[in-house]
């Protein structure tokens, strides 16, 4: 309101400033105007064209100058419109027909359409950047879980179809989903954020610091992928209660430090009575530890390496003694490649070097 002098706020910014709509990013008009981005939405949204016009603040062709009046009188019109028989003004001018009950339909269609566009927009490059700004300003709140130390969360949906579930919050620290604490978000559709956004966000910004806030050792890192490898030596000893040596800097494509730092030993709540842990064998003993568990040695999660280590010993004798004879090594390597043809080649060179460096 303060920025625009006299000129009416755009529909998008007024929508995003509504109570309960704090999670929404303002979709740029360029994005909406590109028809490719709206593919398929026409069949999902009733009164699609009118809704799109409303979002873009385009005046409908038939309307000339009473657009603003319409918006002001919207509430009254809704009430009036409900009382009137449906076919009341159909025969009359189109402008007047729209004033009545149609406007509220268009309004809700516009909200639906905006939400669906928003779902797509926040997975696009400018959109995800915009959400990053909101994320860093902590617009989405923090994780309620004690051991996550108030890790910043992201709004996500559990379904991409509107009308199924409301918006939820995804915590990268415990990889779990929470209901927003404030009830005003309980009416926001989760599909307007979508299922993809949460994870895509953290894969797009792999160097975002999601660890405990007190830890400042790696907050200065620039968010580029290359820096993650060079800084690994510092980051290895981030979690003080988990000190196994030789932890890789990356595990399964995620930086080890940023891989669910809220989970694992020391970050699992243990019930105690007068200081004594409740036994697992008790009827009311702990049963959910697995949910917050993470291996102390993160390499246990490298399933590829583990599989190959196991099968290298069991099936392929030549595999382990690659260095000894070059002839056997090569044939073994070739045999191995035949066994697992497609998969391995897609993996990053790091993993290839563990098994196949000598062969080449």
């Amino acid at each position: 309101m303060s920025s625009s002098e006299g000129a009416p706020e755009s529909w998008i910014s007024s929508f995003c400033s509504l109570m309960g709509h704090e999670f929404f990013a303002e979709v740029s008009e360029d994005f909406i105007e590109d028809d490719f981005n709206l593919t398929g939405l026409q069949s999902q949204v009733p009164m699609y064209k009118e809704a799109l016009e409303m979002i873009l603040d385009v005046e409908p062709e038939d309307d000339e100058d009473d657009e603003e009046e319409e918006e002001e009188e919207e509430d009254e019109d809704e009430i009036l419109g409900d009382e009137k028989p449906p076919g009341y003004r159909r025969a009359g001018a189109r402008t007047h027909a729209r004033v009545a009950s149609d406007l509220s339909v268009i309004e809700s269609s516009a909200e639906l359409l905006y939400g669906l566009i928003h779902q797509r927009y926040i997975t696009s490059r400018p959109g995800i950047q915009q959400m990053l700004e909101k994320y860093e300003m902590q617009h989405f709140g923090g994780c309620p879980r004690v051991y996550c130390n108030g890790c910043k969360v992201l709004p996500v949906g559990r379904s991409d179809t509107p009308g199924q579930e409301t918006v939820k919050l995804f915590c990268p620290s415990c990889q779990d989903l929470y209901t927003p604490p404030n009830s005003r978000f309980h009416s926001v559709d989760g599909a307007f954020f979508g299922t993809t956004f949460g994870c895509l966000f953290f894969m797009t910004f792999p160097d975002l610091d999601i660890g405990p806030r007190l830890d400042s050792s790696f907050s200065a890192l620039s968010p580029t992928r290359s820096s993650s490898l060079t800084s690994s030596s510092i980051n290895n000893q981030v979690a003080p209660d988990v000190p196994p040596p030789n932890q890789p800097a990356e595990i399964n494509g995620v930086r080890t430090v940023n891989f669910s730092p809220g989970l694992g030993p020391g970050r699992i709540y243990e019930s105690r009575i007068y200081g004594f842990r409740v036994s697992e064998r008790s009827r009311s003993g702990p049963r959910m530890k697995w949910l917050r568990m993470k291996p102390t040695d993160i390499r246990e999660l490298d399933e590829m390496a583990r599989y190959e280590a196991l099968h290298g010993e069991a099936d392929n004798d030549g595999d382990t003694e690659m260095g000894s004879g070059s002839g056997t090594t090569q044939s073994a390597a070739i045999a191995k490649r035949k066994k697992a043809p497609m998969r391995r080649r897609r993996y990053n060179p790091d993993q290839m070097s563990i098994n196949g460096a000598e062969a080449g």
């Binding site: 209901t179 019930s271 007068y274 200081g275 697992e280 049963r287 959910m288 949910l291 568990m293």
Partner: protein, 264 residues
């Protein structure tokens, strides 16, 4: 001052505990029995923890009749709240205290679990320390066995020691039938419908961990059941309504038997 005194004699102070538990932000507390408060044994050691101990105790038990100026009065009031909290931590692990807290738990006075997969399971208040001024109150979800911060700031400022570390575990020891069914449902992060490798690998590892634990427990003669297992066994009882009814009956019955157990 005289006015003040006449006021203290009126019904205002005769219900100090009533006033305390009904005031805003104190929804988590239950009312401590007069008997419990007046038994000195239950207060052992608290006189060193609480300033103006005697006055505070008098205030809590509604026998306060001191001519005090406002400053002192305020200090005593503060001490009384602290004292009440510390006694509360001891009281809620007794049979009567537990019963009162169970009622509050069933009513959902402590809020609901924010975790989506817990479907709004009721929470229990607890502390991470038994010593005052160490940490604030947390909320324990018996379904996911994790602890959360209260969402409202007026609750977040309550001292965790007023509930203590043992209370919720004690409650489920005494009322084992109240232990909710655990679920193995989890959130699977996906991108365009595909599982994310890092999360999925962790999930597989966690599932393996759970199965190992289950096997260990079975070896020890304990069956760890999850909601998803049970549904396979009880395929016949598909109707929702009768199941929920029997559940409630079971809860009530077992709660009673829990009380009996203590009596023995």
């Amino acid at each position: 001052m005289e006015d003040f005194n006449s006021e203290t004699d009126s019904d205002y102070t005769s219900y100090w505990r009533d006033w305390f538990i009904s005031s805003r932000g104190n929804e988590y507390f239950c009312e401590i029995d007069e008997d419990y408060l007046t038994d000195r044994f239950n207060l052992t050691g608290l006189n060193t923890e609480v300033a103006y101990y005697q006055y505070a105790l008098d205030l809590v038990t509604d026998v306060f009749d001191l001519d005090a100026d406002d400053d002192l009065r305020e200090q005593i009031e503060k001490s009384a709240r602290h004292l009440y909290g510390l006694v509360h931590a001891r009281y809620i692990v007794t049979t009567r205290g537990l019963a009162k807290m169970v009622e509050k738990y069933k009513r959902g006075d402590f809020g609901k679990c924010p975790r989506v997969m817990c479907d709004g399971h009721p929470l229990l208040p607890m502390g991470q320390h038994d010593v005052a001024n160490q940490s604030n109150v947390r909320l324990f979800c018996p379904k996911c066995e994790d602890i959360y911060n209260p969402k409202s700031s007026r609750h977040a400022s309550i001292d965790g020691a007023y509930f203590g570390t043992s209370f919720h575990s004690m409650l489920f020891q005494v009322y084992p039938s109240l232990v909710p069914e655990k679920s193995i449902r989890r959130y699977e992060p996906r991108i365009f419908g595909f599982k994310v490798h890092a999360s999925a690998a962790l999930a597989r590892w966690q599932d393996q961990f759970r199965e190992d634990q289950k096997a260990n427990l079975r070896e020890a003669g304990v069956e760890a059941k999850y909601a998803e297992d049970v549904s396979e066994d009880e395929e016949l009882e598909d109707d929702d309504e009768p199941v929920t009814e029997t559940k409630e009956e079971k809860v009530a019955g077992d709660a009673a038997s829990g009380r009996m157990d203590i009596g023995n």
